[in-house]
């Protein structure tokens, strides 16, 4: 045998070693109802790798102190770790400056911050805010509250039967009264990846800033806020393998500097007198009160973990899973996939003829398969597709084809039970 053929026969190094990734998540060894856990509810929240769990523990065991004001060693350590994470987030999003990174409780708070600070100070009666028909409630309701406060009008760009943004309608709705565009980067209920680069380009041509709700995007594809040229970008730590209660708002420096504070309190001021207080510079102006220091440090560990594996590799792995799962699901008689846009992330929303999604959820759970059943905080999307709810399997970097097979087997079981 020649050396050449030996090389050809040697087993190839797998491009993506999912078993090695899985080994980093202690919870994936759990059994549910006596069966191995098949966790497919990642759009709701992701599981945490040991690196994140260790970072939280390490913080409380070796660092815990309040930040920015202590002169003692622990406070210095905590401050460095906290601000170090801000720099890591800057790199992660490719923002121009760490000052453009504001820590929030999550995507929801980040959007509310923009609505109440930017929106309330700039929008007037008759001004329009533009969103799409596939938004999560957290990118609808903050704008409705703002509209009530200032008399602005919420305009909704419709979606097509596949769950795709109707770009021609977007172009029509975007008009002289539009003051802000707020779009999901990826739909949580349908998996649609929106054409955000084009949407931003068009909005900017009208002089309109754009906020992207990146809750379902940041963990699944590389995000470069300067390449996107977006004005605000929001994401949640817990959907990118980090802790709950921590999230990020990226805002363009000029916009953030001109915005009034969102909440008042400690850490966001320069001087306080009873007559008048002055604000700290960005980003601290938007971080009133003792923040979620441990959560921030946990987020830093999560981003480091994700970067180590690589978002391009993660995206490719999840795209493969989605393709496999969509193909297998299409073979199930009576199953209809809700959300079939050409550009999709790893979300498979579906309904089964004759079995309500809530019943599907319970039956799948008894087989160890965790999915979400419900409206996914996107009631208008459910109305658009004339379904009360869907069952949703959503994939993450640790999911496998064998888990997709377990999902399909559990669906078969539900069908068998319901006859």
């Amino acid at each position: 045998m020649s050396a050449v053929s030996e090389v050809a026969l040697a087993p190839q190094e797998p491009a993506y070693d999912v078993e090695r990734v899985r080994a980093e998540f202690p919870i994936l060894a759990e059994k549910v109802h006596g069966k191995p856990l098949v966790y497919l509810d990642n759009a709701a929240t992701t599981q945490k790798p040991r690196a994140v769990i260790d970072a939280l523990r390490g913080y409380y065991e070796h660092t815990n102190a309040n930040i920015h004001r202590g002169v003692h060693v622990l406070s210095q350590r905590a401050t460095e770790a906290y601000e170090g994470t801000r720099e890591r987030v800057r790199r992660f999003l490719n923002a121009a400056s760490a000052r453009e990174i504001v820590f929030t409780r999550g995507t929801t708070e980040a959007i509310n911050l923009v609505a109440q600070s930017y929106g309330r100070s700039r929008l007037k009666a008759g001004d329009e805010i533009l969103i799409s028909a596939l938004e999560h409630h957290s990118n609808i309701v903050p704008w409705q509250l703002l509209c009530e406060q200032v008399g602005a009008v919420l305009r909704v760009v419709p979606i097509g039967d596949a769950g795709e943004l109707l770009f021609e309608d977007y172009e029509k709705v975007l008009g002289p009264r539009t003051r802000l565009v707020a779009l999901a980067h990826v739909s949580n209920a349908l998996g649609t990846v929106l054409p955000v680069r084009r949407a931003i380009e068009l909005a900017h041509a009208h002089g309109v800033p754009v906020l992207l709700d990146g809750a379902q995007a940041a963990a699944h594809q590389p995000v470069d806020v300067r390449a996107l040229e977006c004005d605000f970008y929001a994401f949640s730590g817990h959907k990118i393998y980090g802790p709950t209660g921590i999230g990020v708002l990226y805002g363009r420096r000029g916009l953030l500097e001109a915005m009034p504070p969102y909440q008042g309190g400690g850490d966001m001021i320069r001087t306080v007198t009873f007559e008048k207080s002055t604000w700290a510079d960005i980003p601290h102006k938007f971080e009133a009160g003792t923040p979620n220091i441990a959560g921030t440090i946990g987020l830093g560990a999560a981003l480091e973990f994700v970067e180590r594996i690589g978002l391009e590799a993660i995206a490719a792995h999840e795209a493969g899973l989605l393709e496999y799962a969509s193909g297998r699901a299409a073979e199930v008689p009576g199953l209809r996939i809700v959300g079939t846009a050409p550009e999709k992330a790893g979300i498979l929303s579906f309904v089964l003829e004759g079995i309500h999604p809530h019943d599907i959820g319970t039956i799948l759970d008894t087989q160890g398969v965790a999915v979400r059943a419900g409206h996914h905080c996107a009631m208008p999307v459910m109305q658009r597709f004339h379904v009360p709810a869907t069952a949703r399997a959503s994939f993450a970097l640790y999911n496998t084809r064998a888990e997709v097979d377990a999902l399909i087997a559990a669906i078969d079981k539900a069908k068998e039970l319901f006859g």
Partner: protein, 146 residues
């Protein structure tokens, strides 16, 4: 599968596929809407109450197998009951599905006893009953399970 069979008994499948007393009956003089915002289940309960006695009971709506079967079985059980008896039945039913311990004899409604092993599904089973309470009190605002 044993727990699942406990939850999804044949009677439940039967009432899910062929709900009894489905539709809006003539002469109904009490009604109420119920809604479970978590799963989107909707139910409307219609009653004809005369001299404190439920002469007719029916429902409309859409929901999971548990909520549909529960509404169907409930309307069957209510006919001929006084308002006070209906309230006591709800108490007994609630105790059964929440596993609160000993509960009153519930007859055919006992098929929903398996719900006690599935705490996330208690609201599905009780939606129709909460809506019944609202209808007996005169209706008005839709009730929700939240």
């Amino acid at each position: 599968m044993s727990d699942l069979r406990e939850l999804y008994q044949e009677v439940i499948f039967d009432h899910n596929r062929h709900p009894r007393n489905f539709g809006r009956p003539r002469g109904a003089n009490r009604s109420a809407h119920g809604y479970n915002p978590l799963c989107g289940d909707k139910v409307t309960i219609y009653l004809r109450v005369e001299d404190g006695v439920i002469r007719d009971a029916a429902f409309e709506g859409s929901g999971c197998a548990i909520s549909t079967a529960s509404a169907s079985l409930m309307t069957e059980a209510l006919k001929g009951k006084t308002e006070a008896e209906a309230s006591r039945l709800f108490e007994g039913f609630h105790d059964m599905v929440t596993g609160a311990g000993a509960h009153a004899e519930l007859g055919k409604l006992e098929v929903l006893g398996g719900v006690r092993e599935f705490p996330m599904r208690v609201k599905c089973a009780t939606l129709a009953w909460h809506t019944l309470s609202a209808a007996l009190k005169g209706g008005g605002e839709p009730v929700t399970t939240e």
